[in-house]
Symmetry: C2
Subunit: 156 residues, 2 copies
């Protein structure tokens, strides 16, 4: 394949999600842990790093700060998912699914995602526009409209 990957979607996505603690933070927020110290102590993230990552996630529009106030406390902020953040759900579920299969714990998974309405467990499946559900081997990548021919440096 003679296509550049300079503008690849994976690269652009990893710009936003690619740093070490990002998914840990998103996991916490997804399960309902929204406050700085709760996230920090549960995920065991260094303060500085958490500060930086939260700022980046807000900057990128995946989280937003929402004021809250505990009785007898001053107003503080908690972190909630925006719609773009919520849309990462399939990524999280796919990762958990992979981890539960390939890095299993004795006794079963520590965390299960379920359909709120019926309580049944949730998985991700691959599906093509024609309704088939291919296995990974039945899938291929092809260049899209904005694929760029790769620039090969000429010898000089």
């Amino acid at each position: 394949m003679r296509w550049s990957t300079a503008n690849c979607t994976i690269s652009r996505t990893m710009e936003v999600l690619g740093e070490k603690w990002t998914f840990h933070i998103l996991r916490e927020v997804f399960v309902g842990i929204r406050r700085f110290d709760d996230i920090r102590t549960r995920a065991d993230i260094p303060r500085q790093v958490l500060t930086d990552r939260l700022a980046a996630l807000i900057d990128r529009g995946l989280l937003r700060r929402v004021p809250y106030r505990l009785p007898g406390q001053r107003e503080r902020y908690e972190y909630r998912l925006t719609q773009p953040g919520l849309d990462l759900y399939p990524v999280l579920v796919a990762m958990v699914q992979w981890g539960d299969e390939h890095l299993p714990l004795d006794g079963g998974p520590p965390l299960i995602s379920q359909h709120r309405d019926c309580g049944e467990e949730i998985t991700v499946v691959l599906r093509c526009a024609a309704g088939h559900e291919p296995t990974p081997r039945e899938v291929a990548f092809r260049p899209g409209p904005t694929a760029q021919p790769r620039i090969v440096e000429s010898a000089d």
Copy 2:
């Protein structure tokens, strides 16, 4: 929630996939780029880092080294996905899907995944065991069998 995340599947998965260049490398291998220098120049990864990541991915069982020989060249090795590696396909597709939606390029995506048999585009969908296809908001996490009560340090 008073559950520890010390053994969370996301943590265990990120141990394997969480470093900066890992997904870039997997992307290359998924699209059929399997050789050291091809991966390095296309993804623009420092040599040292690529060496380290490939070794880690082999160590974790996501890639394997396969000997090959170009005409008039000595035998070398290329890197191919193992079954656990191939099983990451839904994660990659979910990430690409998210990126194409939330970090779009003018003119459309640079890379499209398609069903090999029918050529139709592939997406991931969330589905529960009862056959529903919930949106992210209709989904919840709950502790599984190996969830551990969180240890809260007592003040002393």
